[in-house]
Amino acid sequence: MKIDAQKVEERIKERLHFSSDIKSRAVKFFNCNVIIMYIAEITDNKLLNDTVIYPITSYSKTITGDKYAALRDKVLSSIELNELDVDEATDKLLHAHTLVLMDGAPKILTADMEKITVRAIAEPPNNLVIKGPREGFNESLKYNLALIRRRVKTDDLVVQNLELGKLTKTQISVLYFSSVADKKIVSEIVDKLKKIDIDGVVDSHYLISYLQKNPHSLFKQIGDTEKPDILLGKMLEGRVGILVDGTPIALTLPFIIIEDLQNSDDYYGQPIHVTLVRILRLVGVVIAVLLPGIYIALEIYHYKIIPLSFLVTIMNTTQGIPFSPFVEVIFVILLFEILYEANLRMPQYLGIATSIVGALILGETAVNAGLVSPPTVMIVALSGITFYIIPSQAGQFSVLRAVACLVGACLGIYGILLFCVYVLAYLSSFDSYNSAYLAPTAPYIASDQKDFMMRATINEMKNRPRSIANNRNNLRRRGK
């Protein structure tokens, strides 16, 4: 069937509701009407001119035979072309392709002319490192894939593209090493992604609730990173990565809880120092979640086990405070959370001022006014700061801390201990894509202790972690 360029142009415009950003330009090619269609805002105009418009309008050689074939094979030979029917071509137009419609042609010619306008590759603010690569993902899937591809020069890396979102048609890439990742897990993830029926995917976090097995759980079940070296490191351990166009955050699966205790520069530092830092992080987690609850429990129920000199200090400072320890702690936590939220969203120049006002004036005034005691401010502040030892878990720590405070106020130390066992029991009960959430502690996996609290040197880590379900290929390196 032959194309009537004018009619096809009308049909495409009609399908796209005559959107204003759809541009078309008519040119002549040996007395034959040619219409070039594109979306101006996402098309690289220079590329369009240099590779499509100029070659067509300036072609002067004699053509004998099929003009369409000549256009395709001689005039536009410098670019990669597709020959598509009207519907397919319209979809491509929306993906920044330029359409070349020619009277009497059997198909529409399309070529990718995407104008990539993205943020420069920079160090991500949430994954700052002292040592190691500083490149971070940006919002372009193409760039992000390039950052990975540049680091992997083997045929083992598989990139599986999907399109999600009925209205957004967002590009998703599933990445894994074919010889390392468990095929069953890969297909489970891809199947889940394919089944997603949603109008739009704006960010990778839209996919999380579809991919995690306990969507209502407080605990994080899918890893995320903004750094290509971290994504690659995780893929080398058998995980599957998911990149979404329009977001710098890559998702990784399976996820186990120790991942957030580890940091990318752990692998570039001295093992002994890294081990100490990891222990510090774990202690930080305990302080962040339990310290205010324990303080409340000690003040209300177990003051007799506080050392006498310390008890006297606390008694002196808490005298005259009108609130119970629980209300006092909750009040300071609320104050802290409000300041945090305000700081996060305020313009930077105001943010600094708010920090000073919040931390110094509000805290100091509240203590001087006798509303809260200094130990309470100190304990909540310490807990609040330690949250950010593991920033990606700050949200759930905040909830756990509130529960610990409540339990401490109602049941004391006994309640807090039962609460800890409950949390452990809960975390022990779920697995993330065949990987035990608390591995390699429960179940204990001896070989994985080399990269748990203690970190061995890279050459001592001969095998991939068994905590992560992978595809039989357990060996990382041979030899001594």
Binding site: I413, Y414, L417, S429, D431, K462, A469, L475, R478, G479
Partner: protein, 399 residues
Amino acid sequence: MKINYRQTCILIFLSQIALKFLALPSLLYTKSESNSIFVALFLMVIDGIYAFLILNLAENSGEKNIYEFMKSCLGTVVTKIFLVLLLVKFALSMANISKGLEFFVADNLYNELSWFAYILPLAALIGYMIYKGIRNIARVGEIVCWFVLVGIIFITAKSFSGAEAESFLPLFKDGLSPLFESAFKYSSWFGSSTFLLLLFGKIDFSKKKTGQLVRYLLLAIVLVQFVYYVFYGVFQVTSPTHNFCLSDLSQFSSLHTSIEELSWLVVALWIVAQAVQLALYGYCFQQAIKYIFNIKNNVFPTIVVMLYVFVLSLIGDLIIGLEQIFLSPAVSVITICTQYVIPLVIFIAGKIKYKNKKPRNKNKDDNQQRADDVVTEHTFKQDDSQSETKKQDGKKGAV
């Protein structure tokens, strides 16, 4: 869902030490004085031997659970009678732990503690853990075990220098009969391997290391002996008045002139071990109910266990009298029967029944190999490259 061999060993370890550090040392002293240390040693060694017997039987029973196994050896009626007796044993053990835990919590940590405040969260926790299954209990046990161990060693070691070895002399001055009387009378506090009967078909033996079990049993025995040595050595004739072994060691030891504050928090960790132990016995209780009444789902038996834990709190007066119940000869006979006679009968019957059968193939498929290491359902095969590494390592004498 199966648990691996290491987790089984840890559960045995926790079970061995569970009831030993509260009232038992002082109770034992009333009968056999400082020689009680040998009573504990004797009964723990027996428990250790039973652990080996039961695990051997469980390994050879294949995928059969205890009900199917006993039914095939002893018939339905005897099986049900045995299961009822085991149910009573676990109910008593739970009552014993719950009572000890409540006294410990109420006396040491609180001036006043409401029964409901004590029991409601505990019953909810136990119910949750039981419902989630043995793998969940085993994993929690795996985590808390080392904290508890370090805590106990920390507390006891602090008082070690105050223990007088001479107070144990002369040994056996009244002969051996008080020791046996004591062993009979306080048998309810022992029998810590019986729970393994209810784990038939739930243990993965593919990575069995007998040495591992020996190590955990020895660790438990050495730990208990160490604590008892320090306890009797420090308190000597006043031992019967110290009903909370661990907390009293930190609080009333002559070495400490004031309350040892840090020790209290360490002692509090003991609560965690007791909760896990309660969940383990609760799980056995639940399994026994399931087998006796042929119930398939977990919900109803779990509710029964939770109600049982809760009922223990409602009958506070009975709880106080429970100690006397545990010390009565009738209960001693029942516990000896369930702890030592029933496992032995099952072992002999099993051996007779299956003596001509070929032993089960130990080289199970790869799915079984992984069992609980990561997750039961995940297949994990050693690839060629890994075997190549092993060969290389072998050549260098690393393996």
